[in-house]
């Protein structure tokens, strides 16, 4: 295992830091597949002869395991280094598909829960945080740009996985026509698709693990030169979760994700409902599908564009934009979204780009607050906000919509209570962001801080 250790992957002189983003992207493009899971839903329901809810739990389980594993294993990832973490993530993610494939082939739904949901979910959590800390250390001057590139890959992964999965199912089942909304692939084709994806993703992620390096001087945590936060902070993860800054940021991420899910969850039926006259929608099912595609692009590009912008305007003002402008956009959507499809789409695009941006900018925000000492582990703990929002967002939206009818048969006014609730959620996040102040010195790690102080005069002399 020594070749996987952090000490074995210290970059030599002249190693290009521009190899690190593709290494990170190889992982994030692979695990981003999880957001394309819905492409299997109809076929899985038919294959297991079960309900949509029972299949929906596979995705929910994977997202909850993502949050839990990132939180529990964050410190291990930080100490083991990116290569070992990427290899473990690749093995978990690949094994998840293989066990899921066995479950489909044998008609055992519990194996799909265990494989894709639990084992794959652990791979998601480790994989998601594995390159973040390393990217920040390689790009101390542009942490938002660096993590934006990687986390953009998580959004991009779904764009690849959706058409790829459809092609694979059509390859293994000649009767499967992906363009038909009710098309279902056979169990055998599904099992083979899972098997193929498991192998492809494992190999792709392992290539990322091969490319990744830690910057010179970061092979040993005890002697590594860490970049402090904006006020000189170098804080360990165990200490960070005892600061108000961590929990304010937790609330910020939770609110931003909850509000985004409010639209993403219902995107296709929502746009049809907003433009319904006398029972019929003026937006076709194909156009509604196109709207989902537009939102996927906004989600992906928002991660890169807004996170990069945060390097210039600062993290706090960026979140003021996500939550403050997002709040206004949500309000406009609730009040005037049904005035025209152009207005509706434009507002939704901005909201979803902020949703993606919120994910991508948060590691750099953590770096500003706590320094790079254990930023990966702190990020892992913060991702529990994502898992919580993944449960709360759909619960809030579905709970409110259930009182008025079923999405797909509603009108714009029926969405107003849910959208206005999201305005309130964003307002809470907006206030939480304003309350974030630099971390108090009492939380600084004495050893790391003293080592940094000792180095500073030496560097000044040089």
């Amino acid at each position: 295992m020594s070749r996987l250790d952090k000490s074995a992957i210290v970059a030599g002189p002249g190693y290009s830091r521009w190899l690190i983003p593709p290494a990170a992207l190889a992982v994030h493009l692979s695990i981003g597949q999880v957001y394309a899971f819905s492409v299997f839903k109809n076929s899985l329901v038919e294959s297991f002869d079960t309900s949509l809810t029972a299949i929906g739990w596979v995705f929910s389980l994977a997202i909850v395991m993502l949050g839990l594993s990132a939180a529990v294993l964050g410190t291990w990832v930080e100490r083991s280094g990116p290569r070992k973490a990427m290899v473990v993530a690749a093995l978990c993610w690949g094994t998840g598909f293989l066990v899921g494939s066995a479950g489909i082939a044998t008609g055992q739904l519990w194996l799909l829960y265990l494989g894709y949901g639990v084992i794959g979910g652990i791979g998601l959590g480790i994989g998601y945080i594995s390159p973040v800390s390393t990217l920040i250390k390689w790009f101390p001057d542009r942490p938002g740009l660096a993590t934006g590139m990687a986390i953009m890959g998580f959004g991009g992964g779904a764009l690849i996985a959706s058409p790829l999965s459809n092609r694979l199912m059509a390859l293994y089942d000649a009767d499967f026509v992906s363009t038909e909304p009710t098309a279902v692939a056979s169990s055998s084709a599904l099992a083979q698709t899972f098997l193929t994806l498991g192998i492809v993703y494992t190999v792709f992620m392992l290539i990322g693990a091969t490319l990744v390096r830690v910057p010179p001087g970061h092979g040993d945590d005890a002697t590594a030169e860490h970049s402090p936060g904006t006020n000189g902070a170098l804080v360990r993860a165990s200490r960070a979760i005892r600061t108000p800054q961590f929990w304010f940021l937790w609330v910020v991420l939770f609110c931003n994700v909850t509000a985004g899910i409010g639209i993403l969850e219902q995107a296709a039926p929502m746009i049809q409902d907003f433009f319904r006259e006398n029972g019929d929608s003026t937006v076709s099912a194909a156009a509604a599908g196109g709207f989902v595609g537009v939102l996927s692009l906004a989600n992906m590009l928002g991660r890169f564009v807004w996170s990069s912008l945060s390097d210039r305007i600062g993290r706090k003002p960026t979140y003021v934009m996500y939550l403050g402008v997002g709040l206004v956009m949500y309000l406009l959507l609730a009040l005037f979204g049904d005035s025209s499809t152009v207005v509706f789409v434009a507002l939704a695009v901005v909201i979803i780009s902020y949703y993606g941006g919120g994910f991508a900018t948060v590691p750099a925000y953590l770096k500003d607050l706590f320094g790079t000492l254990e930023v990966g582990a702190i990020h892992g703990r913060l991702l529990t906000a994502w898992a919580a929002a993944g449960v709360a967002g759909p619960l809030i939206v579905n709970g409110i919509l259930d009182t008025v009818g079923e999405p797909g048969n509603l009108v714009a006014a029926d969405y107003r209570p849910a959208l206005l609730t999201m305005v309130g959620v964003l307002a809470v996040g907006f206030v939480a962001n304003l309350l974030i102040r630099p971390v108090d010195e009492s939380h600084f790690d004495d050893h790391a801080h003293a080592a940094h102080e000792d180095r500073a005069p030496e560097e000044a002399v040089r």
């Binding site: 992957i9 002249g14 190693y15 593709p22 290494a23 992207l25 190889a26 890959g153 196109g290």
Partner: protein
């Protein structure tokens, strides 16, 4: 490629290859999504 590399510069071809490895699938996904998204304006 060995760990603790002893070479002094990374080959530009390696950097280009690594970016192509992730860029090509991403371009495929983007193209497919653009085709799908175009239905919003034509469908």
């Amino acid at each position: 490629m060995s760990t603790n590399d002893d070479h002094t510069t990374t080959s530009p071809a390696l950097v280009a290859g690594a970016w192509a490895l992730v860029g090509l699938p991403l371009a495929y996904g983007l193209w497919q999504t653009l085709v799908k998204a175009s239905a919003l304006f034509t469908g």
